[in-house]
Symmetry: none
Subunit: 432 residues, 2 copies
């Protein structure tokens, strides 16, 4: 098996909900960079039988067990005792640990409390791990594990800023050297919007990729992210091309694993020296808020009119009373006028408008909750798209803002605006 790493996280605060365990996720992400996956994560209470039982079960299936927490000076900090008992060794004061503690307090002008000296007492035969951000030193120890193999334990402070620093400084280099035989993994990422996960999955299955390529999907509402992985030496470019072709019509908005839709939209606006303004009803300003997430947004975003009440749609955005009475505020006609009006009011290249029924009230048979119209007014053309996204208020609003951003991206990048825009979970709303 490949080099196997597990985490034993300890502490009442993780089991009574006061603290969310982010250390395990941090380690998981770091290991993924090396092509490794965590074997198990176990959270147990500060209680010696529980700790011993947990450490035994993890060491039976892992070469390395990282412990998080339990290194403080109080009576419920048991990790030093745990490791000594597990490996059947004694405890002793480490001079380098003591001088770290003394220096730490001296540098902060604080007196060293005798109780803190407990933190300088480590298992005999262990190697101290320096903690440059806190008092508690960590330690490494290797010996017979619960299975037939040797196991190494790395005991780190549970405080996230100390844990992450100690992990990067002292544990990661060890994992890299020990997992040296591990295959390097190449990966391709595709971030998509507009296709339901089931269709993304089916189209990629139909590619019949070689079995050496692993495919994983993640529904990151309202997006679907796909990652292809291949061991070194296996062609990944061919399969990636197949996936690009299968998810055609612009569903992929980014191939950088951390690139957001907003970044793609900003880049496209900058590339065309274009600016945008929004006119929003049901989203209440969410699209504007997202367009200003990034520093320097004022290069491409001028502003927005949130016209929540119909009086504002008419009074500020000049949507005609005829349109409001004949078609209603949630209609292609209304978002057409809103988009044109905000574009002209703010003097931008593009105007984008959103009007919909976020619910839970306000729906009707022809226009159920989740009906949303998006209008785009631009230098080349104007168009409107309507869809129904059946969900709760928060998700309808999130989906609507995302769809509007995606339509702007498609228009800027010269991509198709499908007549039946296949919004995930959405169906096309009636025109007009």
């Amino acid at each position: 098996m490949s080099f196997s790493v597990s985490i034993l996280a300890t502490g009442s605060e993780l089991l009574d909900g006061r603290v969310l365990d982010t250390n395990s996720n941090f380690v998981a992400k770091e290991l993924a960079q090396l092509g490794l996956k965590l074997k198990r994560i176990l959270v147990v209470d500060d209680d010696m039988p529980e700790l011993l039982d947990g450490l035994r079960s993890l060491s039976a299936v892992s070469e390395l067990v990282i412990t998080s927490g339990g290194l403080g000076p109080t009576s419920d900090d048991l990790t030093r005792d745990l490791i000594a008992r597990f490996f059947k060794v004694g405890l002793t004061e480490f001079p380098e640990a003591r001088s770290h503690l003394e220096n730490f307090y001296r540098a902060r002008g604080r007196a060293l409390d005798p109780s803190n000296l407990k933190q300088a007492i480590l298992p005999v035969g262990s190697t101290m791990i320096h903690n440059e951000r806190g008092t508690a030193p960590g330690f490494l120890m290797t010996g017979p594990g619960g299975g037939t193999h040797q196991v190494t334990t790395c005991s780190l402070s549970g405080v996230p800023r100390e844990f992450t620093n100690m992990f990067i400084q002292s544990v990661l280099p060890l994992i890299k050297s020990r997992a040296g035989a591990t295959t390097v993994i190449k990966r391709s990422s595709f971030r998509t919007f507009g296709l339901p996960e089931s269709i993304v999955g089916r189209r990629i299955e139909e590619c019949a990729l070689p079995s050496t390529i692993s495919v994983s999907y993640r529904a990151a509402f309202p997006e679907v992210h796909v990652v292809l992985k291949a061991p070194e030496g296996i062609d990944l470019e061919g399969p990636s091309q197949q996936v690009r072709a299968a998810l055609n019509r612009g569903a992929i908005y980014a191939e950088r694993p951390d690139q957001t839709l907003i970044e793609t939209v900003h880049t496209a606006l900058r590339a065309s020296s274009a600016t945008v303004a929004t006119a929003e009803s049901c989203t209440g300003g969410l699209m504007a808020y997202q367009l200003t997430e990034l520093p320097g947004s004022s290069d491409v975003f001028m502003g927005s009119v949130v016209a929540y009440d119909n009086r504002i749609k008419h009074g500020v955005l000049h949507v005609s009373q005829d349109t409001l009475s004949q078609h209603g505020a949630v209609s292609a006609a209304a978002v057409r006028e809103m988009a044109q009006s905000v574009r002209s009011l703010m003097g931008t290249t593009y105007g984008v408008a959103i009007s919909g029924i976020a619910g839970p009230g306000g729906g009707s048979t022809e226009k159920p909750v989740g009906t949303v119209y998006v209008g785009l007014s631009g230098p080349k053309r104007s168009f409107e798209v309507g869809f129904t996204f059946v969900s709760d208020r928060k998700m309808v609003r999130t989906y609507a803002a995302h769809a509007a951003l995606d339509l702007l991206r498609r228009e800027l990048n010269g991509l198709e605006i499908p007549d039946t825009y296949p919004l995930s979970g959405g169906t096309l709303a009636p025109k007009a």
Copy 2:
């Protein structure tokens, strides 16, 4: 021992770092409300030997094991098989599960893919748990565990919004009835904004509450929540009064544990038959978005002008060129004009304006990154408050919108607007 609950969370995405496990923390918090603490949390891969080994170890120490994930339609969704193998029963299609799936797809106008029908096949003898937010039904099963006692498993979808809903609807009532012998705990909740956690803590410490009262704090940025707990038979009203007096000057915006600041603001607006409009710069529409979170927002919220660019501040909101050139767009003078202007444009009772430097660029010595001005224009008076909140872009924007909402709450409820508004982490910005 008290009723013992563990969690088995499954999925590659938890072990390779793509997803942070928030479901366990959610359960831990809910149990804490009942005076219970989770026994163990174990995360394992979608792999049958790992799943079986994990479930056995948890069921040996727990009366209830909640599984999270593995209920989807694909080949790596193993939870149904796991439970059937663990209890040594077969699998069968549940008609109620099938009709749930059929209704779910029909309501969304989508075709039911045959692969989805796998989700209707549940262990023989289990009880279906309804999933009103997604396709995969969950299920409950009771039988001999890994130890000497009976164990119940509750298998829920791993998608957080489905997991939390299924837990609250179906698992929590079960836990409450099974854990009946647990001591009843009374609690008082105080949700505060505007005081740093350290000051909240010190003021409550100075109350010298009886040792039978436990106090817990939670920093829910940008708020601080305080909970007092007492066992039944111990007076909680006296200590609660002490805390109310200690956190005076309107810092407590709610005493219902789940009441948001937006709800408090909406209630106060309705009580005064008042409406509000916002004019936003650095927050980009965030305050408007938050004011429209709740259904029926149009009773109290009319709309917003997001004037991100100075041309929009002048052209749409008529902020004078004199103000912009002499004081700048981030100034008390600018937000005063913005608030008045949007109030008059939208015909509302109140206008609230926000302008600031969210960063990371744009700061100066007099107005560093994090400098924010909030202006309020109302029927009784108008005022401006400036502060500097040193943090990153996202947190500055979150804090600014929250501070503006809180100032509106204070004005509506006739509370003091302190001259040195003690914003947590914030200092008062220069006037003008």
